[in-house]
Amino acid sequence: MTTTPLLELKNVYRTFEKDRQPIPVLQDVSLAIQPNEILCLVGESGCGKTTTGKIIAGLQTPSQGQMLVNGKPLSELSHHEQKDFRRAFQIVHQDPFASLNPAHTVEQILSFPLLRHGMVASRPMLRRRIWELLTQVDLTPPGDIVNKYPHQLSGGQRQRVVIARALTVQPKLIVADEAVSMVDVSIRIGILKMLHRLREQFGMAIVFITHDLAIAKYFAWQGRIAVMYLGRIVEIGRTPDVIANPQHPYTRALLAAVPEADPDITRRKRPMKLRSEDIPSLMSVPSGCAFHPRCPFFMEGVCDHDVPQLATLSDGAQSVACIPLAQDGKLTLYG
């Protein structure tokens, strides 16, 4: 694709501080999101996927590096463009209990952004728009929902209200941070399908953040997956490639470790034996490739020394940040 990306992160770093010690939560993260694209960020807790999502949604700023919106650096946007950007990029959080004000009805929850951003011109229009939004997120008939308070709704219904609220400002991109982790298995698929439909209907891009690889595979099958480890992207590419043919040792370890809802397949899986089961702390991220102390394909003097860069191994395949793979496309067991 040669279109201008909707959003681009260029060598983004983000450092937090704890007890005067810097914690590098994101290091050298670069990625581009095209309009209408699905990008899935996966990784374990502390890998930086939520911080990346927050930066994309404008809730955090990079400590270093650049963010481009429609090809223009954020810092060069006019006040007006800044406002547009904030409106165009919305976020849906994990916990629909915490992200809705318990003292407001659904109608109030949806009215605020519509009025604040001048999305409606009159009271009757406001009402019509709320009805329309609730229908779009399958909360029908809307008349049964508008006057309810969050506690009167199920977890799934609440998450749909949160999504409807994000839609009030007609966003170009939605960051969905573990948006279905707290709803029951039977209801998840319905919400994911709805997000797919809304994306097509409104031409939105979706950045989907999850720790659940099976959900990532299902949701982003037509899009891309980025695997993160300790603040860096270690592998990124089209979802079917990454899932069926993982390259980075960490991605391979994850895929080999996940149990599957199929007794034969899950029992035949052979988990990868790591050199260490301890996850390094962000306070002391290992030198070189951060995965080297655990990686079974560790190359001494190389992996603990040089920071691997994302590179494609063959035409059209995913990008991987692994020095042994970049050198000769092979992995050899350590020791």
């Binding site: 319905g190 099976a214 470790a257 809802a261």
Partner: protein, 347 residues
């Protein structure tokens, strides 16, 4: 590992167990007439959505139900190694205390909640040992051995407070302590839910090793079908407080016969399945105070016919495995149509 399904191998026999909560609006039927036998060495996994009654069932089995709950009927008969039987629901306080940990222990989700934050792991070991008349020295020796078995730095972990350990380490330490008195049953409620993928893997591997070595029976509660598929011998599906299907893990996963089990599986993505067409279950679980007539699932069921809303289906045995003698039982009028419907997998 093969489990002999003969009467003398039954460790726990639950019959017609019903539990309800008293709420302002009325009585909540959380568990209704649940019956099952747990065999020596068997891992029995209960699956179902939140509110299906699986956690309440578990709490009833160890009689740690909250005050608002009451056991309405049923029996939970435990068989000791020497063959003597006792009904857990009739035990006095002292006997109950002896039963817990020594015969039946439990591992809950989020180990931080089940470990006392001001006690070291060693204190908890000594406390448990003291309550069950075990020598301190012996307890320490056993604990060290078990901590090694769950692949922890035993000496360090033994002297640690819970907050000094990572989530995965705590969960493994808890698993080790739960086996201190060599119980015949370990009850686990979502033991790998709040942990990361690689941590979950190491807990599952450790659990399998321990099971192979000590041959305890496990009652496992999970909303994660994948974990159940991996470690269970037997699957029991719960819906609205009832067991609606129960059978060998392969049977239930590959040939589900209850519409609800079918629908749960039809909503679960699988990594290795390529592009999948999945379906959500419409609606939400029923109100346990005003349960629908007939099959509790019929309002959400794509297979439902007229009879489903009129009469409640009974659990009936549809097949028995010739080798293992294990039954596959289901409470669904449309089980033939469910069985005949194959899940669609694209690509």
């Amino acid at each position: 590992m093969s489990i002999k399904r003969i009467p003398s191998n039954v460790v726990l026999s639950v019959r017609d167990l019903s539990v309800s909560y008293l709420a302002r609006r009325g009585r909540v039927r959380a568990v209704s007439n649940v019956s099952f036998d747990l065999y020596a060495g068997e891992t029995l996994a209960f699956i179902g959505e939140s509110g299906s009654g699986k956690s309440t069932l578990n709490l009833a089995l160890i009689r740690t139900l909250p005050k608002a709950a009451q056991i309405d009927s049923g029996s939970v008969v435990y068989t000791r190694l020497d063959g003597t039987k006792m009904d857990i629901l009739q035990l006095g306080k002292n006997h109950m205390q002896r039963y817990l940990w020594a015969e039946c222990s439990m591992v809950f989700q989020g180990a931080l909640n089940s470990l006392n934050p001001v006690l070291r792991i060693s204190d908890m070991v000594y406390e448990t040992a003291q309550a069950h008349n075990m020598e301190r020295k012996e307890a320490e020796k056993q604990a060290m051995e078990l901590l090694e078995k769950v692949r922890l730095d035993a000496r360090r972990v033994f002297r640690s407070y819970p907050h000094e350990l990572s989530g995965g380490m705590r969960q493994r330490a808890l698993l080790a302590i739960s086996l201190l008195l060599r119980p015949r049953i370990v009850i686990m409620d979502e033991p790998t839910t709040a942990v990361d993928i690689l941590t979950q893997r190491s807990i599952l591997e450790v659990l399998k090793e321990l099971r192979a070595e000590y041959n305890f029976s496990t009652i496992f509660i999970s909303h994660d079908l994948a974990v159940a598929a991996e470690i269970a011998d037997t699957i029991a599906t719960m819906y609205a407080g009832e067991v609606v299907e129960m059978g060998p893990v392969e049977d239930v996963f590959y040939r589900p016969r209850h519409a609800y089990t079918f629908s749960l599986l039809d909503a679960a993505p699988r990594l290795s399945a390529g592009e999948e067409e999945l379906h959500s279950i419409p609606g939400s679980p029923p109100d346990l105070i005003n349960l629908p007539n007939g099959c509790k699932f019929h309002e959400r069921c794509r297979f439902a016919t007229d009879i489903c809303s009129l009469k409640s289906p009974k659990l009936e045995i549809l097949s028995t495995d010739e080798d293992t003698q294990q039954d596959h039982a289901v409470a669904c009028y449309e089980h033939r149509r469910v069985l005949a419907t194959r899940r669609k997998v694209l690509g």
